[in-house]
Symmetry: C2
Subunit: 263 residues, 2 copies
């Protein structure tokens, strides 16, 4: 998912696997909840359940951070919260800019979990002059002409792109040129960035499509055995099939199966 560098031959040791990094926030959330309920210690089994993973994975993950547990007892909640926060870099605060204050951008600006964990919305930026000055979630929107100035003045290194897809790459380029090195992209486009810049994307439509895939499969499962009919093997028949139509459409490559390409 992350694009830029991420490799680096591991100078000495200090190499936490990416998969583990991606789970640390989950653990942290579960631990924070425990902490709020003043639970002093927790076992890998309990914590794993709360985080929705299995305990072997959790223990292995923690083993990359160091030996922070007590055998026969479990983990000290407060202590672990602190260690994970530190590992994730959440003991410092990260100013963040959000570019593109439409529906989504506004929702993000108002998102609580944002401020809670070390992130601070340093600025909201939009290209629409009509938005300039209007407060969204208590923060006045600034015009995108000032993007570079804002980034530099505030020392922002993380940018969130919530613009339409069409302008996302331009916005990205400007952010990067101004010094941003991590980008969270909500626009449905592939961003290209120079080495050393990380991009993560969040795409509703992709998530839904993945769900649809599994959903479809569940439906097919009922009629399971060998009835290789509607959407099965990669060669035979040449029945109907009816191709797409609208958002995509054109004629309708219909012979469905290989053999010869339509067009």
């Amino acid at each position: 998912m992350a694009t830029g560098r991420t490799h680096r031959p591991a100078t000495r040791s200090r190499g936490i696997p990416e998969a583990t990094v991606a789970r640390l926030p989950l653990y942290l959330r579960a631990l924070t909840a425990l902490s709020e309920r003043s639970v002093p210690t927790v076992s890998s089994e309990e914590l794993a359940a709360a985080a929705g993973v299995n305990s072997a994975k959790l223990r292995k993950d923690f083993s990359y951070l160091g030996s922070y547990g007590t055998r026969g007892v479990g983990y000290d909640v407060e202590y672990l919260v602190y260690q994970i926060s530190r590992e994730l870099g959440l003991t410092q605060d990260w100013p963040v800019v959000i570019v593109g204050i439409g529906n989504l951008g506004a929702a993000l600006a108002g998102y609580g979990g944002f401020a809670s964990r070390g992130f601070r919305v340093a600025a909201l930026i939009d290209a629409d002059p009509a938005m300039t000055g209007k407060p969204v979630a208590g923060i006045p929107v600034q015009h995108s002409d000032d993007l570079e100035k804002i980034i530099e003045e505030d020392g922002v290194s993380i940018g969130v792109i919530a613009t339409p897809a069409g302008v996302a790459q331009q916005v990205c380029d400007r952010l990067v040129a101004a010094g941003v090195t991590s980008i969270l992209n909500f626009a449905p486009t592939v961003l290209s960035v120079p080495d050393g810049v990380d991009v993560r994307k969040v795409d509703l439509s992709i998530e839904l499509q993945i769900l649809a895939f599994h959903e479809q499969r569940k439906a097919g499962e009922e009629a399971e055995s060998e009835a290789a009919a509607v959407q099965a093997p990669p060669v035979p028949l040449g029945s109907a099939g009816e191709a797409p139509a609208k958002g995509t459409g054109r004629k309708g490559p219909d012979g469905d199966v290989p053999a010869v390409m339509p067009a």
Copy 2:
């Protein structure tokens, strides 16, 4: 990421790796763009670039679907669009309900990429009576009392949860009880669901934390060599320590390293 089942010992063949499934939507998007520009064929190299992956991976991915390319030429764009759509189950349309019409829910309701690829917002549901009947993105909000009725009448199998974390599990339970078998969760909670139900989550805060981790590492890289000072090894000294205190910030815990657990 997906929670529920996903395993199943692969009854016969028909096993597209999860990682591949997760990329199909990306390919589809890139292909759709090419299709709109009336590009007839594309090579694995070109398509891979457009989708932001490398070409070997793309070819391997496609090989799980079948042999849809032409050696020496490439892939027929229209044909591939259709094959991938079919594989993902996008040739049928999927009614979707969105529960929780706050800022985020409203943004999702208005999201274009939604309707475009086979998904149809069948209903918007919110617990606030003041919202009931109010149109959001052209669709009137319905009250959550009617949740079960809506799901059943429309044959909805995909639900999107955009409620506050506190009620997400209850909403999830009701959705599942009413027949939903795929859930996209935007609330920052781990949902537990019975076997056979898929959950995917989207969590802004987690994504930001992952970025922060890499960002922090970049910063540390500048002072690289062996100056094992600030955030290094897992054993020595035993200075301050000072556990955190809720929100995040407080003093400036700096003694930093382990040795003894605070608490």
